[in-house]
Point group: C2
Protein backbone atom coordinates (compact mmCIF):
# COMPACT_ATOMS: atom_id res chain seq x y z
CA UNK A 1 0.00 0.00 0.00
CA UNK A 2 1.07 3.57 -0.53
CA UNK A 3 1.83 5.74 2.43
CA UNK A 4 2.26 9.44 2.50
CA UNK A 5 5.92 10.26 2.40
CA UNK A 6 7.15 11.97 5.52
CA UNK A 7 8.67 15.40 5.07
CA UNK A 8 11.24 14.86 7.79
CA UNK A 9 13.92 14.32 5.15
CA UNK A 10 13.67 18.04 4.30
CA UNK A 11 15.63 18.72 7.47
CA UNK A 12 18.82 17.53 5.81
CA UNK A 13 18.68 20.12 3.00
CA UNK A 14 20.70 22.78 4.82
CA UNK A 15 23.40 20.18 5.49
CA UNK A 16 23.38 19.15 1.83
CA UNK A 17 23.72 22.75 0.68
CA UNK A 18 26.59 23.28 3.08
CA UNK A 19 28.55 20.42 1.59
CA UNK A 20 27.71 21.05 -2.05
CA UNK A 21 30.32 22.80 -4.14
CA UNK A 22 29.49 26.45 -4.60
CA UNK A 23 27.76 27.44 -7.81
CA UNK A 24 30.23 28.81 -10.26
CA UNK A 25 30.43 32.56 -9.80
CA UNK A 26 31.46 35.14 -12.36
CA UNK A 27 34.50 37.33 -11.61
CA UNK A 28 32.09 40.22 -10.91
CA UNK A 29 30.16 38.09 -8.41
CA UNK A 30 33.38 36.93 -6.74
CA UNK A 31 34.57 40.52 -6.38
CA UNK A 32 31.17 41.74 -5.16
CA UNK A 33 31.24 39.17 -2.35
CA UNK A 34 34.62 40.33 -1.02
CA UNK A 35 34.60 41.52 2.57
CA UNK A 36 35.62 45.13 3.33
CA UNK A 37 38.80 43.88 5.01
CA UNK A 38 39.92 42.32 1.74
CA UNK A 39 40.28 45.76 0.18
CA UNK A 40 42.97 48.35 0.89
CA UNK A 41 42.85 52.06 0.17
CA UNK A 42 45.33 53.48 -2.32
CA UNK A 43 47.87 55.29 -0.16
CA UNK A 44 47.76 58.99 -1.23
CA UNK A 45 51.51 59.09 -0.68
CA UNK A 46 51.94 56.50 -3.46
CA UNK A 47 49.26 57.70 -5.87
CA UNK A 48 49.91 59.94 -8.87
CA UNK A 49 47.14 61.76 -10.69
CA UNK A 50 47.93 62.70 -14.28
CA UNK A 51 45.70 65.10 -16.15
CA UNK A 52 46.31 64.65 -19.89
CA UNK A 53 44.14 66.93 -21.98
CA UNK A 54 41.26 66.45 -19.57
CA UNK A 55 41.70 62.68 -19.19
CA UNK A 56 42.63 61.37 -15.75
CA UNK A 57 45.24 58.67 -15.30
CA UNK A 58 45.96 57.30 -11.84
CA UNK A 59 49.19 55.45 -11.12
CA UNK A 60 50.19 53.56 -8.01
CA UNK A 61 53.91 53.91 -7.29
CA UNK A 62 56.04 50.99 -6.09
CA UNK A 63 58.38 52.33 -3.39
CA UNK A 64 59.40 48.85 -2.25
CA UNK A 65 60.85 48.06 -5.67
CA UNK A 66 62.27 51.43 -6.75
CA UNK A 67 62.62 53.62 -3.65
CA UNK A 68 64.99 56.16 -5.21
CA UNK A 69 63.06 56.56 -8.45
CA UNK A 70 59.76 56.82 -6.59
CA UNK A 71 61.17 59.49 -4.30
CA UNK A 72 62.44 61.38 -7.34
CA UNK A 73 59.07 61.16 -9.11
CA UNK A 74 57.31 62.47 -6.00
CA UNK A 75 59.73 65.36 -5.86
CA UNK A 76 59.24 66.09 -9.57
CA UNK A 77 55.45 66.02 -9.14
CA UNK A 78 55.66 68.17 -6.01
CA UNK A 79 57.63 70.77 -7.95
CA UNK A 80 55.22 70.59 -10.94
CA UNK A 81 58.08 69.44 -13.21
CA UNK A 82 55.77 67.44 -15.48
CA UNK A 83 53.18 70.19 -16.04
CA UNK A 84 53.16 71.25 -19.67
CA UNK A 85 55.32 68.35 -20.86
CA UNK A 86 53.80 65.80 -23.27
CA UNK A 87 53.24 62.28 -24.47
CA UNK A 88 56.15 62.01 -26.89
CA UNK A 89 55.92 58.42 -28.10
CA UNK A 90 53.25 55.80 -28.74
CA UNK A 91 54.58 52.58 -30.28
CA UNK A 92 51.91 50.08 -31.20
CA UNK A 93 51.82 46.90 -29.09
CA UNK A 94 54.56 48.33 -26.88
CA UNK A 95 54.56 51.63 -24.95
CA UNK A 96 53.04 55.06 -24.45
CA UNK A 97 55.82 57.33 -23.17
CA UNK A 98 55.75 60.83 -21.72
CA UNK A 99 58.25 63.40 -20.58
CA UNK A 100 60.21 66.42 -21.74
CA UNK A 101 60.30 66.63 -25.56
CA UNK A 102 63.47 68.70 -25.23
CA UNK A 103 65.20 66.39 -22.77
CA UNK A 104 68.07 65.69 -25.18
CA UNK A 105 68.80 69.37 -25.81
CA UNK A 106 70.77 70.82 -22.86
CA UNK A 107 69.85 74.35 -23.96
CA UNK A 108 66.12 73.67 -23.82
CA UNK A 109 65.71 70.76 -21.39
CA UNK A 110 63.63 71.53 -18.35
CA UNK A 111 65.54 71.55 -15.06
CA UNK A 112 64.87 68.66 -12.70
CA UNK A 113 64.87 71.21 -9.86
CA UNK A 114 65.41 69.53 -6.51
CA UNK A 115 65.19 66.01 -7.94
CA UNK A 116 68.30 63.90 -8.41
CA UNK A 117 69.82 64.19 -11.91
CA UNK A 118 71.33 60.70 -11.61
CA UNK A 119 70.11 57.56 -9.88
CA UNK A 120 71.41 54.02 -9.69
CA UNK A 121 69.46 51.38 -11.61
CA UNK A 122 66.74 49.71 -9.51
CA UNK A 123 66.08 46.66 -11.68
CA UNK A 124 65.44 44.17 -8.88
CA UNK A 125 65.31 43.82 -5.09
CA UNK A 126 66.24 41.00 -2.76
CA UNK A 127 63.64 38.24 -2.74
CA UNK A 128 64.43 36.81 0.69
CA UNK A 129 61.65 37.55 3.14
CA UNK A 130 59.40 39.17 0.54
CA UNK A 131 55.69 38.51 1.19
CA UNK A 132 54.74 36.96 -2.18
CA UNK A 133 51.23 35.79 -3.00
CA UNK A 134 52.34 33.06 -5.36
CA UNK A 135 50.61 31.97 -8.53
CA UNK A 136 50.26 28.22 -9.00
CA UNK A 137 51.52 27.91 -12.59
CA UNK A 138 55.01 27.94 -14.12
CA UNK A 139 55.99 31.10 -15.97
CA UNK A 140 58.81 30.39 -18.41
CA UNK A 141 60.31 33.87 -18.05
CA UNK A 142 61.13 33.31 -14.37
CA UNK A 143 61.26 30.48 -11.83
CA UNK A 144 58.34 31.83 -9.76
CA UNK A 145 55.69 34.53 -10.07
CA UNK A 146 53.07 36.12 -7.88
CA UNK A 147 52.00 39.44 -6.41
CA UNK A 148 53.64 41.78 -3.91
CA UNK A 149 51.87 44.96 -2.75
CA UNK A 150 49.44 44.34 -5.62
CA UNK A 151 52.18 44.36 -8.26
CA UNK A 152 52.90 41.44 -10.58
CA UNK A 153 56.28 40.08 -9.59
CA UNK A 154 58.76 37.44 -10.73
CA UNK A 155 61.27 35.83 -8.43
CA UNK A 156 64.56 34.05 -8.92
CA UNK A 157 65.17 32.51 -5.52
CA UNK A 158 68.53 31.03 -6.49
CA UNK A 159 69.88 34.53 -7.09
CA UNK A 160 67.73 36.16 -4.36
CA UNK A 161 66.13 38.57 -6.81
CA UNK A 162 62.57 39.80 -7.31
CA UNK A 163 61.29 42.30 -9.84
CA UNK A 164 58.05 43.72 -11.19
CA UNK A 165 57.10 42.09 -14.49
CA UNK A 166 56.36 44.16 -17.61
CA UNK A 167 52.63 43.45 -17.89
CA UNK A 168 49.93 45.59 -19.49
CA UNK A 169 49.67 48.91 -17.61
CA UNK A 170 53.04 48.67 -15.87
CA UNK A 171 54.91 51.97 -15.64
CA UNK A 172 58.67 52.17 -16.03
CA UNK A 173 61.35 54.85 -16.08
CA UNK A 174 62.72 55.46 -19.58
CA UNK A 175 66.47 55.39 -19.93
CA UNK A 176 69.13 55.61 -22.61
CA UNK A 177 71.83 53.00 -23.07
CA UNK A 178 73.49 53.58 -19.68
CA UNK A 179 71.68 51.51 -17.05
CA UNK A 180 71.82 54.40 -14.57
CA UNK A 181 70.41 57.01 -16.97
CA UNK A 182 66.79 56.99 -15.77
CA UNK A 183 65.54 59.57 -13.29
CA UNK A 184 61.75 59.23 -13.47
CA UNK A 185 61.46 62.40 -15.56
CA UNK A 186 60.57 60.21 -18.57
CA UNK A 187 58.00 57.48 -17.95
CA UNK A 188 56.25 54.87 -20.09
CA UNK A 189 53.28 52.53 -19.73
CA UNK A 190 52.98 49.13 -21.44
CA UNK A 191 50.06 49.11 -23.91
CA UNK A 192 50.31 45.68 -25.60
CA UNK A 193 51.46 42.11 -25.20
CA UNK A 194 53.68 42.06 -22.13
CA UNK A 195 57.28 42.66 -23.26
CA UNK A 196 58.81 40.53 -20.54
CA UNK A 197 62.21 40.77 -22.19
CA UNK A 198 62.39 44.24 -20.59
CA UNK A 199 62.28 42.70 -17.10
CA UNK A 200 65.44 43.48 -15.10
CA UNK A 201 66.60 45.83 -17.85
CA UNK A 202 64.77 48.93 -16.76
CA UNK A 203 63.50 50.38 -13.49
CA UNK A 204 59.79 49.75 -12.96
CA UNK A 205 58.14 52.40 -10.81
CA UNK A 206 54.42 51.62 -10.72
CA UNK A 207 51.22 50.56 -12.42
CA UNK A 208 48.30 52.38 -14.03
CA UNK A 209 45.13 51.88 -11.95
CA UNK A 210 42.84 54.09 -14.02
CA UNK A 211 43.09 55.53 -17.52
CA UNK A 212 44.64 52.75 -19.61
CA UNK A 213 41.68 52.99 -22.00
CA UNK A 214 42.99 56.49 -22.80
CA UNK A 215 46.77 55.86 -22.77
CA UNK A 216 46.41 52.75 -24.95
CA UNK A 217 44.15 54.42 -27.52
CA UNK A 218 46.38 57.39 -28.35
CA UNK A 219 47.39 57.70 -32.01
CA UNK A 220 50.56 55.77 -32.74
CA UNK A 221 53.59 57.86 -33.61
CA UNK A 222 54.96 57.41 -37.11
CA UNK A 223 58.60 58.18 -36.35
CA UNK A 224 61.31 55.76 -35.26
CA UNK A 225 60.12 53.62 -32.33
CA UNK A 226 56.75 55.37 -32.37
CA UNK A 227 58.00 58.87 -31.52
CA UNK A 228 55.75 61.63 -32.80
CA UNK A 229 57.30 63.48 -35.70
CA UNK A 230 55.43 66.77 -35.23
CA UNK A 231 55.02 68.63 -31.93
CA UNK A 232 51.30 69.14 -32.56
CA UNK A 233 50.74 65.35 -32.52
CA UNK A 234 51.73 65.20 -28.85
CA UNK A 235 49.17 65.09 -26.07
CA UNK A 236 50.00 67.74 -23.50
CA UNK A 237 50.32 66.84 -19.82
CA UNK A 238 48.24 69.44 -18.01
CA UNK A 239 49.47 68.38 -14.57
CA UNK A 240 50.86 65.52 -12.52
CA UNK A 241 50.20 65.55 -8.80
CA UNK A 242 50.94 63.25 -5.90
CA UNK A 243 47.56 62.57 -4.29
CA UNK A 244 49.02 63.50 -0.92
CA UNK A 245 49.85 66.96 -2.33
CA UNK A 246 46.20 67.55 -3.23
CA UNK A 247 43.53 68.80 -0.82
CA UNK A 248 41.77 65.71 0.56
CA UNK A 249 38.48 66.58 -1.14
CA UNK A 250 40.20 66.54 -4.56
CA UNK A 251 41.83 63.14 -4.17
CA UNK A 252 40.29 60.26 -6.09
CA UNK A 253 39.87 57.48 -3.54
CA UNK A 254 40.51 54.04 -4.97
CA UNK A 255 40.57 50.65 -3.33
CA UNK A 256 42.56 47.61 -4.43
CA UNK A 257 41.82 44.01 -3.66
CA UNK A 258 44.47 42.52 -1.38
CA UNK A 259 46.29 39.64 -3.08
CA UNK A 260 46.64 37.82 0.25
CA UNK A 261 42.83 37.55 0.35
CA UNK A 262 40.62 34.51 -0.25
CA UNK A 263 38.74 36.53 -2.86
CA UNK A 264 41.92 37.05 -4.86
CA UNK A 265 42.65 33.32 -4.74
CA UNK A 266 39.12 32.63 -5.99
CA UNK A 267 39.65 35.11 -8.84
CA UNK A 268 42.91 33.45 -9.87
CA UNK A 269 41.16 30.06 -9.83
CA UNK A 270 38.42 31.52 -12.03
CA UNK A 271 40.99 32.93 -14.48
CA UNK A 272 42.67 29.52 -14.73
CA UNK A 273 39.39 27.79 -15.58
CA UNK A 274 36.61 30.15 -16.59
CA UNK A 275 33.34 28.90 -15.14
CA UNK A 276 31.38 30.79 -17.80
CA UNK A 277 29.69 28.30 -20.16
CA UNK A 278 31.21 30.16 -23.10
CA UNK A 279 34.51 28.45 -22.32
CA UNK A 280 34.18 24.85 -23.42
CA UNK A 281 37.93 24.30 -23.16
CA UNK A 282 39.39 25.19 -19.77
CA UNK A 283 43.02 26.30 -19.86
CA UNK A 284 43.82 25.13 -16.32
CA UNK A 285 46.54 27.78 -16.45
CA UNK A 286 47.16 31.47 -16.20
CA UNK A 287 50.16 33.71 -15.82
CA UNK A 288 51.18 36.83 -13.97
CA UNK A 289 50.27 39.13 -16.89
CA UNK A 290 46.86 37.52 -17.52
CA UNK A 291 45.41 38.29 -14.09
CA UNK A 292 44.94 41.84 -12.86
CA UNK A 293 44.29 43.09 -9.35
CA UNK A 294 40.78 44.60 -9.12
CA UNK A 295 40.50 48.32 -8.48
CA UNK A 296 37.30 50.15 -7.48
CA UNK A 297 36.24 53.58 -6.43
CA UNK A 298 36.19 53.58 -2.65
CA UNK A 299 32.86 53.57 -0.88
CA UNK A 300 32.49 56.61 1.39
CA UNK A 301 33.62 56.02 4.96
CA UNK A 302 30.89 56.70 7.47
CA UNK B 1 118.48 44.55 -32.58
CA UNK B 2 115.15 45.52 -33.98
CA UNK B 3 114.01 44.00 -37.21
CA UNK B 4 111.16 45.05 -39.33
CA UNK B 5 108.16 42.93 -38.52
CA UNK B 6 107.08 40.76 -41.39
CA UNK B 7 103.53 41.27 -42.63
CA UNK B 8 103.10 37.59 -43.43
CA UNK B 9 100.95 37.17 -40.27
CA UNK B 10 98.24 39.23 -41.98
CA UNK B 11 97.47 36.18 -44.09
CA UNK B 12 95.77 34.52 -41.14
CA UNK B 13 93.17 37.28 -40.70
CA UNK B 14 90.59 35.74 -43.05
CA UNK B 15 90.85 32.46 -41.14
CA UNK B 16 90.43 34.30 -37.83
CA UNK B 17 87.35 36.11 -39.09
CA UNK B 18 85.86 32.87 -40.31
CA UNK B 19 86.12 31.28 -36.89
CA UNK B 20 85.05 34.30 -34.88
CA UNK B 21 81.48 34.43 -33.68
CA UNK B 22 79.37 36.70 -35.87
CA UNK B 23 78.83 40.21 -34.64
CA UNK B 24 75.46 40.53 -32.96
CA UNK B 25 72.95 41.77 -35.49
CA UNK B 26 69.82 43.76 -34.81
CA UNK B 27 66.46 42.27 -35.85
CA UNK B 28 66.38 44.77 -38.73
CA UNK B 29 69.82 43.62 -39.89
CA UNK B 30 68.83 39.96 -39.61
CA UNK B 31 65.70 40.58 -41.70
CA UNK B 32 67.56 42.70 -44.24
CA UNK B 33 69.99 39.83 -44.85
CA UNK B 34 67.23 37.31 -45.65
CA UNK B 35 67.45 35.75 -49.10
CA UNK B 36 64.54 36.26 -51.53
CA UNK B 37 63.61 32.57 -51.21
CA UNK B 38 63.00 33.04 -47.48
CA UNK B 39 60.03 35.26 -48.24
CA UNK B 40 56.64 34.22 -49.58
CA UNK B 41 54.03 36.38 -51.26
CA UNK B 42 50.69 36.85 -49.52
CA UNK B 43 48.31 34.68 -51.56
CA UNK B 44 45.62 37.05 -52.94
CA UNK B 45 43.11 34.27 -52.41
CA UNK B 46 43.79 34.44 -48.64
CA UNK B 47 44.19 38.19 -48.24
CA UNK B 48 41.43 40.54 -47.09
CA UNK B 49 41.64 44.30 -47.54
CA UNK B 50 39.48 46.30 -45.14
CA UNK B 51 38.89 49.98 -45.74
CA UNK B 52 37.76 51.55 -42.46
CA UNK B 53 37.14 55.25 -42.78
CA UNK B 54 40.11 55.58 -45.11
CA UNK B 55 42.44 53.36 -43.07
CA UNK B 56 43.63 50.12 -44.67
CA UNK B 57 43.75 46.88 -42.73
CA UNK B 58 45.13 43.73 -44.35
CA UNK B 59 44.30 40.32 -42.93
CA UNK B 60 45.73 36.95 -43.91
CA UNK B 61 43.12 34.20 -43.67
CA UNK B 62 43.94 30.75 -42.28
CA UNK B 63 42.15 28.18 -44.49
CA UNK B 64 44.09 25.25 -43.04
CA UNK B 65 42.69 25.95 -39.58
CA UNK B 66 39.15 27.14 -40.36
CA UNK B 67 38.28 26.09 -43.92
CA UNK B 68 34.52 26.56 -43.57
CA UNK B 69 34.72 29.94 -41.86
CA UNK B 70 37.33 31.18 -44.32
CA UNK B 71 35.18 30.08 -47.27
CA UNK B 72 32.22 31.89 -45.72
CA UNK B 73 34.21 35.09 -45.15
CA UNK B 74 35.41 35.02 -48.76
CA UNK B 75 31.81 34.63 -49.92
CA UNK B 76 30.66 37.48 -47.65
CA UNK B 77 33.44 39.72 -48.97
CA UNK B 78 32.71 38.73 -52.56
CA UNK B 79 29.07 39.73 -52.09
CA UNK B 80 30.05 43.00 -50.35
CA UNK B 81 28.23 41.91 -47.18
CA UNK B 82 30.54 43.89 -44.88
CA UNK B 83 30.33 47.20 -46.78
CA UNK B 84 28.64 49.83 -44.64
CA UNK B 85 28.79 47.77 -41.44
CA UNK B 86 30.89 49.03 -38.51
CA UNK B 87 33.33 48.54 -35.68
CA UNK B 88 30.83 47.89 -32.88
CA UNK B 89 33.07 47.13 -29.92
CA UNK B 90 36.50 48.12 -28.61
CA UNK B 91 37.31 46.67 -25.19
CA UNK B 92 40.59 47.87 -23.74
CA UNK B 93 43.35 45.25 -23.50
CA UNK B 94 41.11 42.75 -25.29
CA UNK B 95 39.42 43.11 -28.69
CA UNK B 96 38.30 45.40 -31.51
CA UNK B 97 35.20 43.80 -33.07
CA UNK B 98 33.31 44.59 -36.27
CA UNK B 99 30.16 43.38 -37.97
CA UNK B 100 26.47 44.13 -38.30
CA UNK B 101 25.24 46.41 -35.49
CA UNK B 102 21.74 45.02 -36.09
CA UNK B 103 22.76 41.36 -36.16
CA UNK B 104 20.60 40.55 -33.13
CA UNK B 105 17.44 42.11 -34.60
CA UNK B 106 15.92 39.69 -37.17
CA UNK B 107 13.87 42.56 -38.65
CA UNK B 108 16.95 44.67 -39.37
CA UNK B 109 19.85 42.21 -39.62
CA UNK B 110 21.59 42.15 -42.97
CA UNK B 111 21.13 38.95 -44.97
CA UNK B 112 24.18 36.69 -45.26
CA UNK B 113 23.24 36.18 -48.90
CA UNK B 114 24.89 33.11 -50.35
CA UNK B 115 27.03 32.51 -47.25
CA UNK B 116 26.18 29.73 -44.79
CA UNK B 117 23.99 30.90 -41.88
CA UNK B 118 25.37 28.13 -39.65
CA UNK B 119 28.77 26.51 -39.45
CA UNK B 120 30.32 23.93 -37.16
CA UNK B 121 32.91 25.16 -34.69
CA UNK B 122 36.48 25.00 -36.03
CA UNK B 123 38.38 25.34 -32.76
CA UNK B 124 41.26 22.99 -33.61
CA UNK B 125 42.61 20.70 -36.30
CA UNK B 126 44.50 17.42 -36.17
CA UNK B 127 48.13 17.90 -35.26
CA UNK B 128 49.48 14.72 -36.82
CA UNK B 129 51.57 15.47 -39.88
CA UNK B 130 51.33 19.23 -39.45
CA UNK B 131 54.52 21.05 -40.55
CA UNK B 132 55.30 22.95 -37.36
CA UNK B 133 58.28 25.27 -36.98
CA UNK B 134 58.70 24.69 -33.28
CA UNK B 135 59.76 27.21 -30.69
CA UNK B 136 62.40 26.02 -28.22
CA UNK B 137 60.75 27.15 -24.97
CA UNK B 138 57.92 25.72 -22.87
CA UNK B 139 54.63 27.58 -23.06
CA UNK B 140 52.48 26.80 -20.03
CA UNK B 141 49.21 27.16 -21.93
CA UNK B 142 50.01 24.20 -24.19
CA UNK B 143 52.52 21.34 -24.42
CA UNK B 144 54.17 22.67 -27.59
CA UNK B 145 54.12 25.86 -29.66
CA UNK B 146 55.46 27.05 -32.97
CA UNK B 147 54.39 28.43 -36.33
CA UNK B 148 52.36 26.90 -39.16
CA UNK B 149 51.76 28.83 -42.40
CA UNK B 150 53.07 31.89 -40.51
CA UNK B 151 50.45 31.60 -37.77
CA UNK B 152 51.28 31.17 -34.08
CA UNK B 153 50.12 27.70 -33.13
CA UNK B 154 49.88 25.52 -30.04
CA UNK B 155 49.84 21.74 -30.15
CA UNK B 156 48.62 19.03 -27.83
CA UNK B 157 50.16 15.93 -29.35
CA UNK B 158 48.56 13.57 -26.83
CA UNK B 159 45.13 14.60 -28.08
CA UNK B 160 46.26 15.16 -31.70
CA UNK B 161 45.10 18.80 -31.68
CA UNK B 162 46.59 22.01 -33.00
CA UNK B 163 45.13 25.49 -32.89
CA UNK B 164 46.05 29.10 -33.58
CA UNK B 165 46.89 30.95 -30.36
CA UNK B 166 45.17 34.22 -29.40
CA UNK B 167 48.13 36.56 -29.78
CA UNK B 168 48.13 40.28 -30.56
CA UNK B 169 46.61 40.85 -34.02
CA UNK B 170 44.92 37.44 -34.29
CA UNK B 171 41.46 37.56 -35.89
CA UNK B 172 38.62 35.34 -34.68
CA UNK B 173 34.95 34.82 -35.50
CA UNK B 174 32.67 36.22 -32.83
CA UNK B 175 30.03 33.87 -31.50
CA UNK B 176 27.30 33.78 -28.86
CA UNK B 177 27.06 31.04 -26.24
CA UNK B 178 26.46 28.21 -28.72
CA UNK B 179 29.81 26.94 -30.00
CA UNK B 180 28.45 26.70 -33.56
CA UNK B 181 27.01 30.22 -33.65
CA UNK B 182 29.85 31.93 -35.54
CA UNK B 183 29.67 32.50 -39.29
CA UNK B 184 32.46 34.98 -39.97
CA UNK B 185 29.96 37.84 -40.31
CA UNK B 186 31.24 39.21 -36.98
CA UNK B 187 35.02 39.34 -36.53
CA UNK B 188 37.41 40.60 -33.85
CA UNK B 189 41.12 41.31 -33.54
CA UNK B 190 43.14 40.97 -30.33
CA UNK B 191 44.50 44.38 -29.22
CA UNK B 192 46.13 43.66 -25.84
CA UNK B 193 47.87 41.04 -23.74
CA UNK B 194 47.19 37.72 -25.45
CA UNK B 195 43.99 36.23 -23.96
CA UNK B 196 45.12 32.65 -24.37
CA UNK B 197 42.14 31.44 -22.33
CA UNK B 198 40.13 31.95 -25.54
CA UNK B 199 42.19 29.28 -27.33
CA UNK B 200 40.03 26.34 -28.46
CA UNK B 201 36.91 28.24 -27.43
CA UNK B 202 36.38 30.23 -30.58
CA UNK B 203 37.18 29.80 -34.27
CA UNK B 204 40.31 31.71 -35.30
CA UNK B 205 40.27 32.75 -38.94
CA UNK B 206 43.38 34.83 -39.56
CA UNK B 207 45.83 37.50 -38.52
CA UNK B 208 46.20 41.24 -39.14
CA UNK B 209 49.29 41.91 -41.29
CA UNK B 210 48.83 45.66 -41.64
CA UNK B 211 46.74 48.20 -39.76
CA UNK B 212 46.97 47.13 -36.12
CA UNK B 213 48.20 50.64 -35.24
CA UNK B 214 44.72 51.82 -36.33
CA UNK B 215 42.55 48.97 -34.95
CA UNK B 216 44.29 49.09 -31.57
CA UNK B 217 44.04 52.87 -31.21
CA UNK B 218 40.27 53.21 -31.71
CA UNK B 219 38.39 54.83 -28.83
CA UNK B 220 37.28 52.26 -26.28
CA UNK B 221 33.54 51.68 -26.01
CA UNK B 222 31.96 52.62 -22.71
CA UNK B 223 29.13 50.06 -22.78
CA UNK B 224 29.20 46.52 -21.42
CA UNK B 225 32.23 44.62 -22.73
CA UNK B 226 33.37 47.71 -24.65
CA UNK B 227 30.41 47.96 -27.01
CA UNK B 228 29.77 51.48 -28.26
CA UNK B 229 26.65 52.97 -26.72
CA UNK B 230 25.88 55.42 -29.52
CA UNK B 231 25.81 54.59 -33.24
CA UNK B 232 27.86 57.69 -34.08
CA UNK B 233 30.78 56.32 -32.02
CA UNK B 234 31.21 53.45 -34.46
CA UNK B 235 33.81 53.48 -37.22
CA UNK B 236 32.15 52.62 -40.53
CA UNK B 237 33.53 49.83 -42.71
CA UNK B 238 33.73 51.33 -46.17
CA UNK B 239 34.51 48.02 -47.83
CA UNK B 240 36.04 44.58 -47.33
CA UNK B 241 37.49 42.85 -50.38
CA UNK B 242 39.30 39.61 -51.01
CA UNK B 243 42.53 40.61 -52.77
CA UNK B 244 41.81 38.07 -55.51
CA UNK B 245 38.54 39.89 -56.22
CA UNK B 246 40.42 43.14 -56.87
CA UNK B 247 42.09 44.09 -60.15
CA UNK B 248 45.74 43.08 -59.86
CA UNK B 249 46.95 46.67 -59.98
CA UNK B 250 44.86 47.51 -56.89
CA UNK B 251 46.13 44.63 -54.74
CA UNK B 252 48.60 45.49 -52.01
CA UNK B 253 51.45 43.02 -52.41
CA UNK B 254 52.92 41.88 -49.14
CA UNK B 255 55.59 39.34 -48.37
CA UNK B 256 55.95 37.29 -45.20
CA UNK B 257 59.10 35.70 -43.86
CA UNK B 258 58.88 31.90 -44.00
CA UNK B 259 59.09 30.37 -40.52
CA UNK B 260 60.96 27.35 -41.89
CA UNK B 261 63.82 29.73 -42.83
CA UNK B 262 67.20 30.19 -41.19
CA UNK B 263 66.44 33.90 -40.90
CA UNK B 264 63.34 33.17 -38.81
CA UNK B 265 65.37 30.94 -36.50
CA UNK B 266 67.92 33.72 -36.13
CA UNK B 267 65.14 36.17 -35.27
CA UNK B 268 63.72 33.84 -32.63
CA UNK B 269 67.21 33.44 -31.14
CA UNK B 270 67.52 37.25 -31.08
CA UNK B 271 64.14 37.59 -29.33
CA UNK B 272 65.20 35.08 -26.69
CA UNK B 273 68.39 37.00 -25.92
CA UNK B 274 68.45 40.51 -27.29
CA UNK B 275 71.94 41.28 -28.54
CA UNK B 276 71.31 45.03 -28.14
CA UNK B 277 73.49 46.41 -25.36
CA UNK B 278 70.41 47.98 -23.80
CA UNK B 279 69.49 44.52 -22.50
CA UNK B 280 71.84 43.78 -19.65
CA UNK B 281 69.69 40.85 -18.51
CA UNK B 282 69.00 38.29 -21.21
CA UNK B 283 65.73 36.41 -20.80
CA UNK B 284 66.93 33.25 -22.60
CA UNK B 285 63.23 32.71 -23.31
CA UNK B 286 60.40 33.80 -25.49
CA UNK B 287 56.92 32.59 -26.28
CA UNK B 288 54.65 32.23 -29.26
CA UNK B 289 52.94 35.59 -28.64
CA UNK B 290 56.20 37.53 -28.14
CA UNK B 291 57.62 36.83 -31.58
CA UNK B 292 55.90 38.03 -34.73
CA UNK B 293 56.47 36.98 -38.31
CA UNK B 294 57.94 39.88 -40.32
CA UNK B 295 55.81 41.36 -43.09
CA UNK B 296 57.07 43.74 -45.78
CA UNK B 297 55.79 45.40 -48.89
CA UNK B 298 56.85 43.19 -51.79
CA UNK B 299 59.62 44.35 -54.03
CA UNK B 300 58.47 44.63 -57.65
CA UNK B 301 59.04 41.51 -59.71
CA UNK B 302 61.13 42.16 -62.76
Amino acid sequence: MRTRVSCAWLAIIPALLWHMPAWPRSPAEIIAAASPAEWRRLDPDNGLLLDLAGHSVIIELAPRFAPLHVANIKRLAHEHFYDGLAVVRVQDNYVTQWGDPDADDPAKARSLGGAAPHLPAEFWIHAKGLPIDRLPDPDGWAPLTGFVDGFPVAVDQAHDRAWITHCYGIVGAGRSSAIDSSTGAELYAIIGQSPRGLDRNITVVGRVLRGMEFLAALPRGTGMMGFYQEPQQRTIITSVRLLADLPEAQRPTLELLRTESATWRALVAERRNFSNDFFVTKANFTNVCNVAVPVRVATPRS
